[in-house]
């Protein structure tokens, strides 16, 4: 039962990364590729109707962690106190900057929210990557199964490292690049004209950074977390996950050259999903590795009672099927390109 919930939670989190990934990515590239007010409104228009739904996948994943792995939820969230709170503030800033920007058109209002939207998305992407890297690297859990990490100490790996060290920052940068590419590909699918061309060029340029960082991070990660190597050695079928990531990454540049917009976006999604699932597969059965392996939280020691997990699986399946049907309906309703706002219709009288 624990393993089933491990998979469903990982699945929910992966869907969150794919969906909020392009919203975040659109934010990261917002100031970079969208030059005029009209273009910036197109970027916001491409994510407007779906972004709140996308963020719900994070809430769903959080709730599932809480109910299926209470120990992980409690130890992990209290140990990562400061970075989580910073993530919450960034989520607030990103949410309101999208929400509020459209209300007024003014030379002091729009740039302020554009800047906040872009910078909060930028930092969120880095923090998400660093958070994942912390889980991979392991945390100083002790016999009480609690820990507390400062934001940073000396940026070196070792016993007294903080949330941010060179490794977690490196993964944060990879996340930033990958999400920027994903967002650019999304905006490209949803727009036409100059913006469409610029996002394509941007994605192709960032691709090289993503590829280089992926290779570097993968090499380093195998050294830092030995469990990953032994999992892949023990279960050869697990190779499908990294293969998916590599195929996705190759697909992105291939489809970009062929100029197939939707396929390029899907390839980037496959890359992100492949990376996420590779990490998750590599860590199993650990859910939060400790520096001292004795104290690691695993699927077995962190899971809730079996009755609750069984009942939960029933409503979860039902709920996710419903959610999937809403999403298909919503995405179909808003499919196609966003029209450029015409200069004649002012947003307000």
């Amino acid at each position: 039962m624990g393993t089933v919930w491990f998979c469903t939670t990982a699945l929910t989190l992966t869907i969150y990364v794919l969906l909020d990934g392009f919203v975040l990515g659109a934010g990261v590239i917002h100031l970079l590729v969208a030059r005029t007010d009209a273009e910036r409104r197109m970027v916001l228009g491409s994510i407007g109707p779906v972004r709140e739904g996308n963020e719900v996948w994070l809430l769903a994943a959080g709730g599932m962690l809480f109910c299926a792995f209470p120990l992980l939820y409690a130890s992990g969230f209290s140990g990562f106190y400061l970075p989580l709170m910073i993530v919450l503030w960034l989520l607030i800033l990103r949410g309101i900057s999208i929400e509020f920007r459209g209300h007024i058109q003014s030379a002091v209002w729009d740039p302020l929210w554009d800047f906040l939207f872009c910078s909060s998305s930028f930092l969120l992407a880095v923090f998400y990557g660093a958070a994942l890297a912390n889980v991979v690297r392991g945390v100083p859990l002790d016999a009480t199964q609690y820990f507390f990490e400062p934001l940073w100490t000396n940026f070196r790996l070792g016993d007294d490292t903080g949330i941010l060290d060179w490794y977690t920052i490196l993964v944060g940068l990879l996340a930033l690049a990958a999400i920027a590419m994903h967002g650019a590909l999304w905006v490209r699918v949803k727009t036409e004209g100059e913006l469409n061309k610029r996002t394509g060029k941007f994605a192709a340029a960032v691709w090289w950074i993503v590829a280089a960082l992926t290779a570097l991070v993968t090499t380093v990660t195998f050294r830092i977390q030995p469990q990953i190597e032994s999992n892949f050695a023990d279960h050869h079928w697990g190779a499908v996950f990294p293969v998916l990531a590599v195929a996705g990454l190759t697909g992105v540049i291939f489809e970009l050259r062929k100029n197939r917009e939707v396929r390029a976006l899907c390839a980037s999604g496959a890359y992100l999903a492949g990376m996420m699932t590779s990490v998750v597969f590599g860590l199993y059965p650990m859910v939060l590795p400790a520096r001292n392996p004795l104290y690691s939280l695993t699927v077995q020691n962190a899971k809730a009672g079996d009755y609750g997990l069984k009942v939960g699986l029933i409503w979860w399946t039902l709920g996710i099927l419903l959610a999937a049907s809403y999403f298909i309906f919503v995405y179909r309703s808003f499919s196609g390109k966003v029209d450029p706002p015409s200069a004649q219709t002012p947003r307000h009288k």
Binding site: C67, S78, Y81, I320, Y326
Partner: protein, 458 residues
């Protein structure tokens, strides 16, 4: 970790109180929006569609702020209350996760369609989008109340070998009898906020002689629904909540009422200041024997005062609990009076000309917010010293490794951020109300289309 405990309590109390400013309006408005959309569908009168469009814009601002201030809540159980989450996550995680899976997905998906898809969906389709937003937000309220109700009145659990509290009976968690009454009471409170806000905006338009057709619809809708909600708030829902507390949290009842001495034929205190050190109520204004009657329907019934309970079972903030409860009940009574008067004038056809009544409706707008907040404070202070009533004390629930300094850091951060949000919120709300229902291009079709290219949906 004494200091950290207080900081953690203030942290949760501040963020949840601030958060609840927004959902209480959106849950109430969601019902009124469905009412307006139904009217539009049945009469075919586009006036009601335009009314709904106006309120959808107000709804969207509040919903957006409700989401961004609500996300931190789900994380704070783990960040600040790790010991509590560790022991009870297997139970309350269920209802919280169900909220995400069943209500948030529905709410957010269909709000997008409701705001941006009016043209695309057609009249009936748009009604359904509005209805599903309503259903999603009311379901979300249910899961939250069920979570809180379980902490007030835990049922359907078993305690495991390491002291962890595990789910043993799903249905008694989900249809906890405490949850049913608490839900009805909470939602009526939200409906009253929606009604007072709608009536106040309508009264403002009538008093300033602008958008009068809309003003009349807003006042009429607010008063008609509001008078029903105000009465049901007191009876049966408030009454039943009180009886549940008398049965299951008798020490809370004594503190709420400011009753220190156990007595037969206990009086109901209307005013007075509890002096916890001297264990008495100063300057009391009381109705003799009334508390006994309300609680047990017998004038002479015996009610245990605070002194009848060991001191370590007393709620630790007796005065605050007493005041929150009295503010809630006092305001609830005022709402019944205001709404009944307005309904009477509406029935006689003179409401829209009664300027004093319109003034009263307009100025009442902060009161339901205060009453709802005071109601939740009553529930939460009343549960003390327990986090889960009878099972886990608040003092044992906080995150053990978290220092007071770190909690203060983030609390101050939230205070600063929320101060900024408040200014923006009031500014934007004022602007929408100033712009009015006709302020937006009527050919736009979609509410909030100003945010996106007008044809975003096509």
């Amino acid at each position: 970790m004494e200091q950290a405990l207080d900081a953690n309590r203030l942290h949760f109390g501040f963020t949840i109180t601030y958060h609840y400013i927004f959902p209480q309006l959106t849950m109430g408005l969601a019902l009124l929006l469905v009412y307006l959309k139904t009217k539009a569908l049945r009469t075919g009168d586009p006036h009601y569609d335009r009314c709904a469009q106006f309120w959808a814009r107000i709804f969207a601002i509040n919903f957006g702020l409700g989401v961004v201030t609500g996300v931190p809540m789900e994380f704070q159980f783990g960040t600040n209350w790790a010991a509590f989450s560790r022991s009870a996550g297997g139970v309350i995680g269920q209802t919280l996760a169900m909220e995400g899976v069943f209500s948030f997905f529905m709410e957010s998906s269909f709000l997008g369609l409701f705001l941006f898809g009016a043209k695309k969906l057609g009249r009936v389709g748009h009604w359904w989008a509005g209805f599903l937003v309503f259903l999603g937000s009311w379901l979300s309220g249910y899961f939250i109340v069920a979570t809180n109700a379980w902490m007030q009145y835990p049922t359907g659990f078993a305690v495991g070998p390491h002291g962890e509290i595990e789910l043993a009976d799903f249905w008694s968690l989900v249809v906890n009898r405490w949850a049913l009454w608490q839900y009805a009471h909470t939602m009526l409170g939200a409906v009253q906020t929606g009604c007072f806000v709608m009536a106040a905006v309508g009264a403002f338009y009538l008093l300033t002689a602008r958008d009068e057709k809309y003003g009349r619809t807003f006042v009429r809708t607010g008063v008609l629904v509001g008078v029903i909600a105000a009465c049901l708030q007191l009876f049966p829902t408030g009454d039943s909540q009180g009886k549940l507390i008398a049965q299951n949290q008798p020490v809370t009842l004594a503190a709420m009422e400011g009753l220190f001495e156990s007595q037969s034929g206990a009086p109901l205190a209307i005013l007075g200041q509890p002096d916890v050190e001297k264990r008495r109520l100063d300057n009391p204004l009381e109705i003799p024997r009334m508390l006994s009657f309300l609680t047990y329907q017998e004038w002479g019934a015996h009610i245990k005062g605070l002194e009848g309970f060991p001191h370590d079972l007393w709620p630790d903030r007796v005065s605050l609990l007493y005041y929150s409860y009295h503010v809630m009940v006092g305001l609830g009574t005022i709402f019944i009076a205001v709404m009944l008067m307005a309904a009477l004038l509406l029935w006689r056809g003179t409401l829209f000309e009664s300027r004093w009544m319109l003034w009263l409706l307009m100025l009442s707008v902060p009161l339901p917010y205060i009453a709802n907040t005071a109601g939740w404070m009553t529930a939460e202070f009343g549960r003390q010293p327990w986090l889960i009533y009878g099972l886990l004390r608040t003092a044992h629930g906080a995150s053990p490794r978290l220092s007071a300094g770190n909690v203060w850091f983030t609390l101050i951060g939230f205070m600063g951020m929320y101060a900024m949000l408040s200014i923006l919120f009031l500014f934007l709300m004022g602007r929408e109300i100033e712009m009015g229902p006709e302020g937006h291009d009527p050919h736009d079709g979609d509410a909030a289309a100003h945010e996106l290219p007008a044809e975003a949906g096509d």
